[in-house]
Symmetry: C2
Subunit: 151 residues, 2 copies
DNA sequence: GGCTTGCTTGGAGTGCACTCCAACGCCATA
DNA sequence: TATGGCGTTGGAGTGCACTCCAAGCAAGCC
Protein backbone atom coordinates (compact mmCIF):
# COMPACT_ATOMS: atom_id res chain seq x y z
CA UNK A 1 0.00 0.00 0.00
CA UNK A 2 2.70 2.42 0.86
CA UNK A 3 4.54 1.57 -2.32
CA UNK A 4 1.88 2.75 -4.76
CA UNK A 5 3.69 5.39 -6.72
CA UNK A 6 1.11 7.79 -8.15
CA UNK A 7 -0.36 9.40 -5.05
CA UNK A 8 1.52 11.84 -2.89
CA UNK A 9 1.55 10.26 0.52
CA UNK A 10 0.37 12.62 3.17
CA UNK A 11 1.83 10.55 5.96
CA UNK A 12 5.28 12.05 5.56
CA UNK A 13 5.22 14.28 2.50
CA UNK A 14 8.69 15.23 1.37
CA UNK A 15 6.92 18.06 -0.32
CA UNK A 16 3.46 18.72 -1.62
CA UNK A 17 2.79 19.17 -5.34
CA UNK A 18 5.73 16.96 -6.19
CA UNK A 19 7.48 16.15 -9.43
CA UNK A 20 5.39 16.00 -12.59
CA UNK A 21 8.32 15.59 -14.99
CA UNK A 22 10.52 12.73 -13.87
CA UNK A 23 14.06 13.72 -14.45
CA UNK A 24 16.00 10.62 -13.58
CA UNK A 25 15.40 7.09 -14.80
CA UNK A 26 13.77 5.05 -12.08
CA UNK A 27 12.76 1.42 -12.32
CA UNK A 28 8.97 1.46 -12.36
CA UNK A 29 7.05 0.27 -9.39
CA UNK A 30 10.04 0.37 -7.09
CA UNK A 31 10.29 2.53 -4.02
CA UNK A 32 13.45 1.52 -2.19
CA UNK A 33 16.84 2.51 -3.48
CA UNK A 34 20.35 2.09 -2.10
CA UNK A 35 22.61 5.07 -1.85
CA UNK A 36 24.56 4.00 -4.92
CA UNK A 37 21.36 3.82 -6.95
CA UNK A 38 20.52 7.33 -5.85
CA UNK A 39 24.02 8.40 -6.83
CA UNK A 40 23.36 7.01 -10.29
CA UNK A 41 19.97 8.72 -10.55
CA UNK A 42 20.86 12.15 -9.22
CA UNK A 43 24.52 12.62 -10.08
CA UNK A 44 25.21 13.63 -6.49
CA UNK A 45 27.94 11.74 -4.64
CA UNK A 46 27.24 9.42 -1.71
CA UNK A 47 29.25 11.82 0.44
CA UNK A 48 27.00 14.68 -0.52
CA UNK A 49 23.84 12.65 0.08
CA UNK A 50 24.97 11.75 3.59
CA UNK A 51 26.07 15.32 4.19
CA UNK A 52 22.68 16.67 3.09
CA UNK A 53 21.08 14.40 5.64
CA UNK A 54 23.44 15.46 8.42
CA UNK A 55 22.73 19.15 7.91
CA UNK A 56 18.98 18.63 7.81
CA UNK A 57 18.45 19.14 4.11
CA UNK A 58 16.81 15.72 3.70
CA UNK A 59 13.63 14.57 5.40
CA UNK A 60 14.47 11.46 7.41
CA UNK A 61 15.53 8.60 5.13
CA UNK A 62 14.40 5.05 5.85
CA UNK A 63 16.90 2.39 6.85
CA UNK A 64 17.13 -1.32 6.07
CA UNK A 65 17.28 -3.80 8.95
CA UNK A 66 21.07 -3.54 8.78
CA UNK A 67 21.01 0.23 9.06
CA UNK A 68 21.64 1.05 5.41
CA UNK A 69 19.78 3.89 3.76
CA UNK A 70 16.80 3.03 1.60
CA UNK A 71 15.65 6.03 -0.38
CA UNK A 72 12.09 6.30 -1.66
CA UNK A 73 10.62 7.97 -4.71
CA UNK A 74 9.57 10.97 -2.67
CA UNK A 75 13.20 11.34 -1.55
CA UNK A 76 14.25 11.38 -5.17
CA UNK A 77 11.60 14.00 -5.94
CA UNK A 78 12.94 16.09 -3.10
CA UNK A 79 16.50 15.67 -4.34
CA UNK A 80 15.40 16.78 -7.81
CA UNK A 81 13.95 19.90 -6.32
CA UNK A 82 16.95 20.57 -4.11
CA UNK A 83 19.20 20.18 -7.13
CA UNK A 84 17.13 22.78 -8.94
CA UNK A 85 17.31 25.17 -6.02
CA UNK A 86 21.02 24.61 -5.75
CA UNK A 87 21.68 25.62 -9.31
CA UNK A 88 19.88 28.89 -8.76
CA UNK A 89 22.81 29.65 -6.48
CA UNK A 90 20.65 29.50 -3.37
CA UNK A 91 22.88 28.96 -0.31
CA UNK A 92 22.54 25.58 1.34
CA UNK A 93 21.51 27.29 4.58
CA UNK A 94 18.43 28.70 2.85
CA UNK A 95 17.55 25.30 1.44
CA UNK A 96 17.82 23.88 4.95
CA UNK A 97 15.46 26.61 6.11
CA UNK A 98 12.96 25.57 3.43
CA UNK A 99 13.32 21.94 4.47
CA UNK A 100 12.55 22.94 8.05
CA UNK A 101 9.41 24.73 6.92
CA UNK A 102 8.31 21.61 5.05
CA UNK A 103 8.84 19.55 8.20
CA UNK A 104 6.79 22.00 10.21
CA UNK A 105 3.69 21.38 8.10
CA UNK A 106 0.92 23.36 6.46
CA UNK A 107 1.16 26.37 8.74
CA UNK A 108 4.28 27.43 6.92
CA UNK A 109 2.76 27.69 3.42
CA UNK A 110 2.93 31.47 3.44
CA UNK A 111 6.54 31.55 4.48
CA UNK A 112 7.52 28.87 2.00
CA UNK A 113 5.84 30.82 -0.74
CA UNK A 114 7.64 34.01 0.28
CA UNK A 115 10.94 32.16 0.21
CA UNK A 116 10.28 30.73 -3.23
CA UNK A 117 9.12 34.08 -4.54
CA UNK A 118 12.28 35.75 -3.39
CA UNK A 119 14.24 32.95 -5.05
CA UNK A 120 12.20 33.50 -8.17
CA UNK A 121 13.21 37.15 -8.22
CA UNK A 122 16.84 36.15 -7.80
CA UNK A 123 16.56 33.78 -10.73
CA UNK A 124 15.03 36.46 -12.94
CA UNK A 125 17.81 38.88 -12.02
CA UNK A 126 20.39 36.25 -12.69
CA UNK A 127 18.92 35.55 -16.12
CA UNK A 128 18.97 39.27 -16.91
CA UNK A 129 22.62 39.50 -15.85
CA UNK A 130 23.49 36.53 -18.00
CA UNK A 131 21.72 38.04 -21.02
CA UNK A 132 23.75 41.17 -20.47
CA UNK A 133 26.95 39.18 -20.34
CA UNK A 134 25.91 37.30 -23.44
CA UNK A 135 25.68 40.57 -25.33
CA UNK A 136 29.20 41.51 -24.26
CA UNK A 137 30.52 38.09 -25.23
CA UNK A 138 28.84 38.24 -28.62
CA UNK A 139 30.37 41.61 -29.31
CA UNK A 140 33.85 40.39 -28.47
CA UNK A 141 33.43 37.11 -30.28
CA UNK A 142 32.37 38.79 -33.48
CA UNK A 143 35.31 41.16 -33.18
CA UNK A 144 37.73 38.25 -32.87
CA UNK A 145 35.93 36.39 -35.65
CA UNK A 146 36.37 39.18 -38.22
CA UNK A 147 39.87 40.13 -37.06
CA UNK A 148 40.90 36.52 -36.99
CA UNK A 149 39.69 35.98 -40.56
CA UNK A 150 40.95 39.20 -42.15
CA UNK A 151 44.38 38.82 -40.70
CA UNK B 1 48.31 62.64 -25.52
CA UNK B 2 47.99 59.44 -23.62
CA UNK B 3 44.95 60.69 -21.74
CA UNK B 4 42.65 61.17 -24.73
CA UNK B 5 39.78 58.89 -23.90
CA UNK B 6 38.06 57.90 -27.14
CA UNK B 7 40.71 55.87 -28.93
CA UNK B 8 41.77 52.42 -27.84
CA UNK B 9 45.43 52.78 -27.12
CA UNK B 10 47.47 50.16 -28.84
CA UNK B 11 50.49 50.80 -26.66
CA UNK B 12 49.22 48.59 -23.86
CA UNK B 13 45.71 47.51 -24.74
CA UNK B 14 43.89 46.09 -21.75
CA UNK B 15 41.64 44.56 -24.34
CA UNK B 16 40.66 45.34 -27.89
CA UNK B 17 37.09 46.35 -28.72
CA UNK B 18 36.63 47.84 -25.31
CA UNK B 19 33.60 49.10 -23.47
CA UNK B 20 30.91 50.86 -25.46
CA UNK B 21 28.39 51.11 -22.61
CA UNK B 22 30.02 52.73 -19.60
CA UNK B 23 28.77 50.97 -16.55
CA UNK B 24 30.23 52.96 -13.72
CA UNK B 25 30.19 56.70 -13.23
CA UNK B 26 33.56 58.17 -14.08
CA UNK B 27 34.53 61.81 -13.91
CA UNK B 28 34.94 62.88 -17.53
CA UNK B 29 38.35 63.56 -18.91
CA UNK B 30 40.12 61.88 -16.03
CA UNK B 31 42.36 58.88 -16.39
CA UNK B 32 44.00 58.32 -13.04
CA UNK B 33 42.07 56.85 -10.13
CA UNK B 34 43.10 55.78 -6.64
CA UNK B 35 42.19 52.34 -5.43
CA UNK B 36 39.36 53.72 -3.32
CA UNK B 37 37.86 55.46 -6.33
CA UNK B 38 37.96 52.19 -8.21
CA UNK B 39 36.30 50.53 -5.23
CA UNK B 40 33.50 53.09 -5.51
CA UNK B 41 33.16 52.60 -9.27
CA UNK B 42 33.29 48.83 -9.46
CA UNK B 43 31.89 47.62 -6.16
CA UNK B 44 34.92 45.35 -5.72
CA UNK B 45 36.90 45.69 -2.50
CA UNK B 46 40.45 47.05 -2.39
CA UNK B 47 41.54 43.63 -1.18
CA UNK B 48 40.06 42.00 -4.23
CA UNK B 49 41.60 44.55 -6.59
CA UNK B 50 45.07 43.92 -5.16
CA UNK B 51 44.47 40.20 -5.20
CA UNK B 52 43.42 40.31 -8.88
CA UNK B 53 46.71 42.02 -9.61
CA UNK B 54 48.73 39.51 -7.65
CA UNK B 55 47.26 36.52 -9.48
CA UNK B 56 47.76 38.12 -12.89
CA UNK B 57 44.16 38.97 -13.64
CA UNK B 58 44.98 42.66 -14.14
CA UNK B 59 47.30 44.08 -16.76
CA UNK B 60 50.03 46.01 -14.97
CA UNK B 61 48.58 49.00 -13.09
CA UNK B 62 50.44 52.32 -13.05
CA UNK B 63 51.88 53.69 -9.82
CA UNK B 64 52.18 57.21 -8.47
CA UNK B 65 55.63 58.52 -7.52
CA UNK B 66 54.97 57.24 -3.99
CA UNK B 67 54.13 53.76 -5.20
CA UNK B 68 50.36 53.97 -4.95
CA UNK B 69 48.16 52.45 -7.62
CA UNK B 70 46.73 54.78 -10.23
CA UNK B 71 44.11 53.03 -12.31
CA UNK B 72 43.23 54.22 -15.80
CA UNK B 73 40.02 54.08 -17.79
CA UNK B 74 41.21 51.04 -19.68
CA UNK B 75 41.73 49.31 -16.33
CA UNK B 76 38.15 50.13 -15.41
CA UNK B 77 36.96 48.76 -18.77
CA UNK B 78 38.88 45.59 -18.08
CA UNK B 79 37.41 45.32 -14.60
CA UNK B 80 33.92 45.73 -16.05
CA UNK B 81 34.59 42.87 -18.39
CA UNK B 82 36.12 40.69 -15.69
CA UNK B 83 33.10 41.35 -13.50
CA UNK B 84 30.87 40.17 -16.31
CA UNK B 85 32.92 37.04 -16.82
CA UNK B 86 32.88 36.38 -13.10
CA UNK B 87 29.13 36.40 -12.92
CA UNK B 88 28.91 33.80 -15.64
CA UNK B 89 30.49 31.53 -13.03
CA UNK B 90 33.76 31.32 -14.95
CA UNK B 91 36.54 30.20 -12.59
CA UNK B 92 39.15 32.83 -11.82
CA UNK B 93 41.85 30.56 -13.24
CA UNK B 94 40.15 30.73 -16.66
CA UNK B 95 39.92 34.49 -16.46
CA UNK B 96 43.62 34.59 -15.69
CA UNK B 97 44.22 32.44 -18.76
CA UNK B 98 42.28 34.92 -20.86
CA UNK B 99 44.28 37.78 -19.36
CA UNK B 100 47.49 35.98 -20.32
CA UNK B 101 46.27 35.62 -23.89
CA UNK B 102 45.54 39.34 -24.02
CA UNK B 103 49.07 40.05 -22.80
CA UNK B 104 50.51 37.78 -25.46
CA UNK B 105 49.06 39.91 -28.25
CA UNK B 106 47.25 39.43 -31.53
CA UNK B 107 48.51 35.92 -32.19
CA UNK B 108 46.09 34.64 -29.60
CA UNK B 109 42.89 35.95 -31.19
CA UNK B 110 41.77 32.47 -32.21
CA UNK B 111 42.30 31.02 -28.77
CA UNK B 112 40.61 33.96 -27.07
CA UNK B 113 37.64 33.54 -29.35
CA UNK B 114 37.46 29.83 -28.60
CA UNK B 115 37.54 30.57 -24.90
CA UNK B 116 34.78 33.13 -25.17
CA UNK B 117 32.69 30.86 -27.35
CA UNK B 118 32.91 28.08 -24.83
CA UNK B 119 31.93 30.55 -22.13
CA UNK B 120 29.04 31.64 -24.32
CA UNK B 121 27.80 28.06 -24.51
CA UNK B 122 28.05 27.79 -20.74
CA UNK B 123 26.01 30.94 -20.34
CA UNK B 124 23.32 29.65 -22.68
CA UNK B 125 23.14 26.37 -20.79
CA UNK B 126 22.97 28.22 -17.53
CA UNK B 127 20.09 30.34 -18.79
CA UNK B 128 18.26 27.22 -19.93
CA UNK B 129 18.75 25.63 -16.52
CA UNK B 130 17.46 28.73 -14.81
CA UNK B 131 14.38 28.83 -17.04
CA UNK B 132 13.74 25.24 -16.11
CA UNK B 133 14.04 26.06 -12.44
CA UNK B 134 11.78 29.03 -12.91
CA UNK B 135 9.06 26.73 -14.21
CA UNK B 136 9.38 24.52 -11.14
CA UNK B 137 9.30 27.52 -8.84
CA UNK B 138 6.23 28.94 -10.55
CA UNK B 139 4.42 25.66 -10.19
CA UNK B 140 5.17 25.47 -6.49
CA UNK B 141 4.43 29.12 -5.88
CA UNK B 142 1.04 28.92 -7.51
CA UNK B 143 0.30 25.82 -5.47
CA UNK B 144 1.13 27.63 -2.25
CA UNK B 145 -0.76 30.70 -3.43
CA UNK B 146 -4.05 28.84 -3.96
CA UNK B 147 -3.63 26.59 -0.92
CA UNK B 148 -2.66 29.55 1.20
CA UNK B 149 -5.77 31.46 0.15
CA UNK B 150 -8.31 28.65 0.29
CA UNK B 151 -7.22 27.54 3.70
C1' DG C 1 56.27 67.47 16.06
C1' DG C 2 52.19 64.71 16.43
C1' DC C 3 48.02 62.88 14.56
C1' DT C 4 44.99 61.13 10.98
C1' DT C 5 44.03 59.26 6.61
C1' DG C 6 44.99 56.51 2.86
C1' DC C 7 47.81 53.52 0.90
C1' DT C 8 51.50 49.60 0.73
C1' DT C 9 53.05 44.50 1.49
C1' DG C 10 53.26 39.17 2.31
C1' DG C 11 51.14 35.93 4.53
C1' DA C 12 47.54 34.05 7.26
C1' DG C 13 42.55 33.38 7.99
C1' DT C 14 37.54 32.69 6.59
C1' DG C 15 33.25 30.62 4.81
C1' DC C 16 31.14 27.73 1.79
C1' DA C 17 30.15 23.34 -0.15
C1' DC C 18 31.65 19.65 -0.43
C1' DT C 19 35.18 15.56 -0.20
C1' DC C 20 37.86 12.27 1.89
C1' DC C 21 39.63 9.15 5.57
C1' DA C 22 40.07 5.35 8.78
C1' DA C 23 37.96 1.92 10.93
C1' DC C 24 34.41 -0.82 10.99
C1' DG C 25 29.79 -3.95 9.80
C1' DC C 26 27.09 -7.02 6.83
C1' DC C 27 26.52 -10.37 3.40
C1' DA C 28 26.99 -12.95 -1.09
C1' DT C 29 29.86 -15.77 -3.78
C1' DA C 30 34.21 -18.99 -4.42
C1' DT D 1 36.00 -19.35 5.79
C1' DA D 2 37.82 -15.78 3.44
C1' DT D 3 37.58 -12.33 0.06
C1' DG D 4 35.32 -8.50 -2.20
C1' DG D 5 31.91 -5.21 -2.44
C1' DC D 6 28.92 -2.08 -0.57
C1' DG D 7 27.53 0.28 3.25
C1' DT D 8 28.19 2.92 7.96
C1' DT D 9 30.22 6.86 11.12
C1' DG D 10 32.50 11.36 13.02
C1' DG D 11 35.77 14.21 12.08
C1' DA D 12 39.32 16.09 9.35
C1' DG D 13 40.78 17.93 4.84
C1' DT D 14 40.24 20.44 0.26
C1' DG D 15 39.63 24.11 -3.20
C1' DC D 16 37.89 28.30 -4.32
C1' DA D 17 37.47 33.14 -3.92
C1' DC D 18 38.10 36.14 -1.34
C1' DT D 19 39.13 38.71 3.30
C1' DC D 20 41.79 40.26 6.87
C1' DC D 21 45.98 41.43 9.58
C1' DA D 22 50.11 43.71 11.23
C1' DA D 23 53.49 46.65 10.29
C1' DG D 24 54.93 50.29 7.85
C1' DC D 25 55.24 54.60 4.68
C1' DA D 26 53.83 59.28 2.76
C1' DA D 27 51.10 63.40 2.77
C1' DG D 28 48.16 66.87 4.83
C1' DC D 29 46.68 69.44 8.70
C1' DC D 30 46.83 71.54 13.68
Amino acid sequence: MQTTPAATEHAAPADICSAPPRRHPRPDGQDRYTISEVVAFTGLTAHTLRWYERIGLMPHVDRSHTGQRRYRNRDLDWLDFVTKLRLTGMPVADMVRYAELVREGEDTYAERRALLESTRRDVLNRIAELRDTLAVLDRKISFYATEGTTR
